[in-house]
Amino acid sequence: MDKKFEPLIIGFTCNWCSYRAADMAGISREKYPPNVRLIRLMCSGRLDPTFILKALAGGADGVLVTGCHPGECHYLEQNFKAARRFSLLKRMLNQMGIEPERVKLVWASAAEGVRLAKEITTMVEEVRALGPLNWPGVVAEDGNGYVAHLAPEEVSA
């Protein structure tokens, strides 16, 4: 396929920092690729790993998780809980064979519109380079019900 692959990325934002950062990016007309669609939560602490799995299984090629910088949480320390979950989730997704670039955590304060835009741009490019995730395809049965005979020399270590 010669056409450029356009990844679809779901972004989870915190009402107090990153969502405002996104607004800030808009207000300062900071351009970034349209591949990201944002969901507003009250806090990154609200982020349930289920949402991320759902997004990936539902056709997203990547998920961007954002929240207030450590120590700047509007709810004092809930972004730490987000960080804990994310850290564990990353390890699990790794076992699921999902490339680390596809699920990213970015701290962005309400003032960092420009930075958020940059982070988004980088991530879109990274995911673009990885190609589609197409989870439905991953799950689908591969059609042929058997393992092709492995000639001895073909066996990989």
């Binding site: 602490g45 289920t50 439905p136």
Partner: protein
């Protein structure tokens, strides 16, 4: 097929949105493709937020019996309230309206019209699917306690306290030092008008002191803050003064008789002395002294008691047995005016402060110029007698410097000009200002700059490389040599002087982070308190009921601090006047039947809203304390906790909508629905 009747309204926002998004196409698409999701009407309009736009919605609700509304326009942070009110006018619960942003997050940040249009569609699809799960809610009304806590008795705090107290509402002021007055009380003159700081400050201090509505806790600190807007419970530690303020008349005899001389690092900036029992300065408010136990001979060696012996009052005011007092007050709002710390010039070793006797900091110099200061206003060298013939003033010490602080400390330029003037006035010495850029932006400031120029002060544009007493050339012996590049003539220069004043920058308080955490607000990377909005809400914080004023929010001069103090007071007053505050009904609650009592969530709430009932072995959430972050909702392994406005159903539905179309607008292949 949804049972709801949903109306979708797409805003052009003039050309702000329609310039990049094909608005008609979007609303047409929503009407046709989101029918099964319950969309019965979908319109676009030039300005949805205009009264006509709002009436459009109201009319549809009434005539078509809409049960849900989705508005695609600017950021909800801008107009969510507007549209909720509109919906409410049409007797629909305001929380059944969902707003999605296609301006800040689409039209303003993207360029390709086709793609932006497709993105808008998905964003709206998300809103539509989400809104179906919205529920009718009522805002939470919290009563506002009339009392206000002002933390910090500097000029900003004083201003705020007086504004509120003068309008008849109770104010508690907590000040860490024995007297209010803050940094301003230490200054001699104030730029650009050069009127005496004390003369304009002391009256204000006095009126705070004897204001019927102000309750002052000096030499005290806030220990703990509980509760929430409208109803904070604040615990204050009133440190022991060892002086009975009920009987003490502030005559000052104890101070006179005290044999122990101590370097005064706080008020005299280390340049002068005080006694072990002392009032920071003559005009101190309150007038009562405190005993500094670290230096008091009695407390250290168990004898002396000179102060007690000579105290004329009956009964004796000196009370060595006095203990710290813990006081608990309840207030509705809090104003933080905790000010700043001076940058520690010793952190720039090549400037020699602490090593070279005649290098002074700006604060030391302020005290030196002050008629009530250690030199009675004489500008002299460290030896206390010699008048300098040449003085260098170094700007931006610790500011605009990647090694220390990147920011500009705002006041240093004007302060340095003031110093230049004072040196000229009092000694006639040559004055050399070393600056990076001159910043004199406000009323009459630049005129003052011109004035000082005319007075013959020299200005050298360039950073000082080092200050040394290592003489190299004739004429340098016994002097301090300033080595700097003069960037205007492009030459290195060595200028011998007798005295150097380092215009040290302003830094956030050493314990700013701690304090911020105590009051539930946040700090910037430079540890200044963060305001709610840099332009539109500079005195409020993200935490309801906690406001900030003065230099604790960022470097500020006196006029700015006073203005911000008054502004904060105005915000608080409007709160008090309205008696009640409506809060977003975003709250979590436990479905008891599902709770297994695993206690995972129990220590996740920083507001202690989560209670565990040992008897029934279930958890409950106190809606009054819950702030609605949703952390416990996401943590519950049984999905036994739900959160209003951000339920799993709502978020997953929105997700489904967002994933309806791919970036170019093709259908995304969703995971095939499971059988059974």
């Amino acid at each position: 097929m949804s049972k709801e009747k949903i109306g979708v309204y797409v805003c052009h926002c003039g050309t702000n949105i329609s310039g990049t998004v094909d608005v008609e196409e979007v609303s047409k698409w929503a009407g046709e493709n989101l029918e099964k999701d319950g969309v019965v009407v979908s319109r676009d309009y030039k300005f949805m937020c205009s009264s006509l736009g709002q009436e459009l919605i109201e009319a549809d609700i009434k005539e078509q019996g809409l049960t849900r509304v989705v508005v695609a326009a600017c950021s909800p942070h801008l107009h969510e309230q507007t549209f909720r009110t509109a919906v409410k006018r049409a007797d629909l619960n305001p929380y059944l309206c969902e707003m999605v942003s296609i301006r800040e997050q689409v039209s303003w940040v993207h360029t390709d019209k086709k793609i932006a249009t497709e993105k808008s569609k998905s964003v709206i699809a998300g809103g539509v699917k989400r809104v179906a799960f919205h529920e009718e809610l009522e805002p939470l009304q919290v009563p506002i306690n009339e009392a206000t806590l002002v933390v910090g008795g500097g000029i900003a705090g004083i201003q705020a306290a007086l504004e509120i107290a003068d309008s008849g509402f109770p104010v508690y002021m907590v000040e860490r030092e024995p007297s209010i007055g803050g940094h301003m009380a230490k200054f001699d003159k104030t730029f650009p008008t050069l009127d005496c700081a004390a003369c304009i400050l002391t009256p204000k201090m006095v009126s705070v002191g004897d204001h019927p509505h102000i309750n002052m806790y000096t030499y005290s600190e806030v220990e703990k803050v509980d509760g929430y807007v409208g109803n904070f419970t604040v615990t204050i530690r009133k440190k022991a003064r060892y002086v009975d303020t009920d009987v003490c008349t502030g005559c000052g005899i104890c101070e006179e008789k005290c044999p122990q001389k101590v370097i005064d690092d706080i008020f005299e900036a280390g340049l002068g002395y005080r006694k072990a029992v002392y009032r920071p300065f003559p005009q101190a408010v309150p007038k009562y002294p405190v005993i500094d136990t670290d230096n008091c001979i009695y407390f250290q060696r168990g004898k002396c008691k000179a102060c007690q012996i000579f105290c004329p009052t009956e009964p004796n005011s000196i009370d060595f047995e006095q203990q710290d007092e813990i006081i608990e007050i309840t207030v509705g709002n809090i104003i933080l005016a905790t000010g700043y710390d001076l940058f520690d010039a010793r952190r720039v070793p090549q400037y020699g402060y602490g090593r070279l006797a005649n290098v002074f900091t700006s604060l030391e110099f302020e005290r030196m110029c002050n008629a009530a200061g250690p030199t009675n206003g004489e500008v002299v060298l460290r030896d206390g007698v010699t008048t300098p013939e040449a003085v260098a003033i170094v700007h931006c010490v610790g500011s605009r410097d990647r090694n220390y602080n990147n920011y500009c400390s705002v006041i240093c330029c004007m302060q340095s000009l003031k110093f230049a003037h004072l040196v000229k006035e009092r000694t006639g010495a040559e004055v050399y200002n070393f600056y990076i850029d001159m910043r004199t932006p406000f009323k009459d400031y630049d005129e003052f700059y011109q004035k000082v120029l005319e007075e013959g002060a020299h200005f050298i544009r360039g950073r000082v490389a080092e200050i040394t007493d290592a003489a190299r050339m004739p004429g340098e012996e016994g002097k301090l040599i300033i080595q700097a590049e003069d960037t205007l003539i492009g030459k290195q220069r060595r200028i011998p002087v007798d005295m150097v004043v380092l215009s040290a920058g302003l830094e956030s308080r050493a314990d700013a982070k701690e304090v911020a955490h105590k009051f539930g607000i946040s700090c910037s990377t430079d540890e200044w308190f963060i305001e709610k909005h840099p332009k539109l809400d500079p005195v409020a914080t993200m935490t309801e009921g906690v406001f900030i004023a003065g230099a604790c929010q960022g470097p500020k001069d006196i006029p700015a601090s006073v203005a911000q103090g008054a502004a904060a007071a105005a915000r608080v007053l409007s709160r008090i006047q309205s008696k009640e505050l409506a809060l977003e009904p975003v709250r979590a609650s436990v479905i008891e039947e599902k709770c297994s009592g695993c206690r995972i969530c129990n220590n996740l709430c920083p507001f202690n809203a989560i209670i565990f009932h040992e008897d029934r072995m279930v958890t409950e959430i106190n809606p009054a304390l819950c702030q609605g972050c949703g952390t416990c909702v996401a943590a519950c392994p049984s999905e036994a906790i739900t959160g209003t406005q951000f339920s799993n159903e709502q978020i997953l539905a929105q997700l489904e909508g967002l994933l309806m179309l791919d970036v170019e607008g093709g259908l995304v292949s969703m995971l095939e629905p499971e059988m059974a």
